[in-house]
């Protein structure tokens, strides 16, 4: 078969959603990739390894193949018979599939939570408290002359971010690295920090103190200490001056703020710093979102329920109280009695206290790959990859929606998350006698 090149492909790895990939396909396989980073190269050239190719159920400890229809039927029965099921994952699939997940959660009176809960959940809580001055990545590319990366390491987690959107990008009014300053705040001298004009090494778990001190310096108030969080006050004042005197600054922040002591309060402090800076200049802030459609999971859940993650339908209407209705808390307390995981691997990434309960309730997983979560499941339904084998809408980290395209056919018999969830939804309605 003839090899063909597909241009302007959206990358479905991280929240950068770079839309300039050139993918060569031949015989319904991706054979090469241009413009990608190491992460996208690895995804697009290895996605068909360790694939799940048939629906399976666990019988006497071993997996056996079952028909897709039987897997759907059993999944619907598990969800209908559960008193408090949890539907988790969603950040590695399309908005169209997430929409169906929300409907299913409402129908079965369960909880729907997405991976935000273990990445930027505290950032969203901070935004509820303080509000957010933000923008698109395009504005950063064209206008920003001061970039701050705080508690994130884009060289490793978002390898094209600096090149396409921030310090090294060539914009309309800023022509590249020479027109921009870079500040990195981290507890380690990361590969990102090594490229910084100013590297601030903050003491572990003391970001809140440093953010508050910086805000004090921006206000022009005196800091009655020699150092804060391991940083000399003179350095803090120098950084504050740099921030005040830029024309267009932005703070990109990562899980170094959301996962450490303070959590959402760290975000409150970062948002408050940016608000303070806006009394003096133009300053913005944006979380570095991890998975390619975790932002979409928040968008869809918010426009359908009013809340961006951790939504509980057990009372028949949506409730939102992270810490109570969020996945890790529900699992650690041992409250849910069934789980549907779609496009995620919580057994790998949740603390063991949570994944232990998850793996001991009836667990259904919809995923393209064999993962620790599929290995711990009772039913596994294989799916196709969004942005490679099926099309779908995804949201970039700045909230810009993009269409991830279908490049090749999936292996025979594999369906998209959207088709699988539609089938589960139909069968659940039948079992519940809902039209």
């Amino acid at each position: 078969m003839v090899e063909k090149t597909i241009r302007d492909v959206v990358c479905t790895f991280c929240g950068c959603c770079c839309d300039n990939l050139e993918v060569k396909v031949k015989d319904e396989r991706v054979v090469s990739l241009r413009n990608g980073c190491a992460l996208s190269m690895s995804k697009f050239l290895n996605y068909d390894r360790e694939r799940l190719l048939a629906s399976m159920q666990r019988k006497e400890g071993e997996f056996e193949e079952i028909k897709f229809e039987d897997a759907v039927n059993r999944t619907a029965s598990i969800l209908v018979n559960a008193k408090y099921p949890i539907l988790y994952g969603w950040s590695l699939t399309s908005c169209e599939a997430i929409e169906m997940g929300v409907e299913l959660a409402e129908l079965v009176g369960g909880v729907i939570d997405n991976t935000t809960t273990t990445c930027h959940g505290p950032s969203i809580l901070g935004v509820h408290d303080i509000g957010e001055s933000t923008c698109t990545l395009g504005e950063v590319r064209h206008r920003a002359d001061l970039i701050v990366y705080w508690g994130c390491n884009p060289v490793h987690a978002h390898p094209q971010h600096m090149l396409r959107y921030s310090v090294q990008s060539i914009g309309r009014f800023r022509k590249g690295r020479k027109d921009r300053k870079l500040i990195v705040v981290d507890v380690r001298k990361t590969d990102t920090a090594k490229q910084a004009d100013y590297f601030i090494q903050v003491a572990p778990n003391q970001d809140y103190e440093l953010l508050c001190a910086l805000r004090t310096a921006v206000k022009g108030d005196e800091i009655e200490q020699n150092s804060v969080a391991g940083v000399p006050v003179e350095t803090l004042e120098e950084i504050a001056d740099l921030m005040i005197n830029c024309e267009f600054g932005i703070v990109f922040f990562g899980l170094g703020l959301t996962m450490t002591v303070g959590k959402s309060r760290n975000i409150d402090a970062a948002l408050s710093l940016v608000r303070e800076l806006n009394n003096k200049t133009k300053f913005l802030i944006m979380p570095m979102r991890g998975h390619f459609n975790v932002t979409g999971a928040n968008q869809v859940t918010a426009w359908q329920t009013g809340y961006p993650f951790a939504v509980d339908f057990s009372k028949g209407y949506p409730r939102y109280n992270p810490g109570d209705t969020s996945a890790v808390d529900i699992l650690t307390r041992g409250e849910c009695d069934a789980a549907l995981v779609v496009a995620s691997d919580p057994v790998s990434n949740f603390p063991v206290a949570a994944s232990r309960h998850l793996s001991r309730v009836p667990l259904v997983t919809v995923d393209p790959h064999i993962t620790p979560t599929t290995l711990a499941s009772d039913i596994v339904i294989p799916s196709s990859f969004v942005g490679i084998e099926t099309a779908g809408t995804v949201y970039r980290m700045d909230g810009v929606p993009l269409l991830a395209r279908k490049l090749v056919e999936p292996p025979a018999g594999l369906r998209s998350d959207e088709e699988i969830l539609n089938a589960i939804l139909r069968r659940t309605r039948e079992l519940k006698g809902v039209a």
């Binding site: 190491a38 380690r188 990361t190 170094g256 810490g323 057994v347 793996s359 001991r360 064999i370 620790p372």
Partner: protein, 129 residues
Amino acid sequence: MKFILLTGRTLGQGRSKEIGKLSDEYAKNVAICEFDPEDLKSLQISLGQNVRVTTKHGTVVVKAALSTQAPHRGLIFMPYGPWTSMICDPETHQTGMPSLKGIEAEATPAPEEKVLTIRELVAHISGGK
């Protein structure tokens, strides 16, 4: 020796999870603990040697690795993944977010102990379901 544990993404973790979580490549990149070079000397651990990392939430054996993001004396770093999740703090402080960075930990040489495979870890977590 006592440390503060950070967990996070690395290029190797991101690349190898796409190759497959059952692959040797994934274990090589993820079942590791990165040390500052000075800390590694103090602990008398050689590169690639097995090391036991313990927190008050659990314990796990991984391989010692040299940090490329040093200096960070007193900090150890483990990539996200099932080995690291064995020792992370589930406390969310009413935010939904467990504490995955900045955890008190102890690291000790464990030359006689084995790094569990993914299948062994899953069996351990699920109680041999």
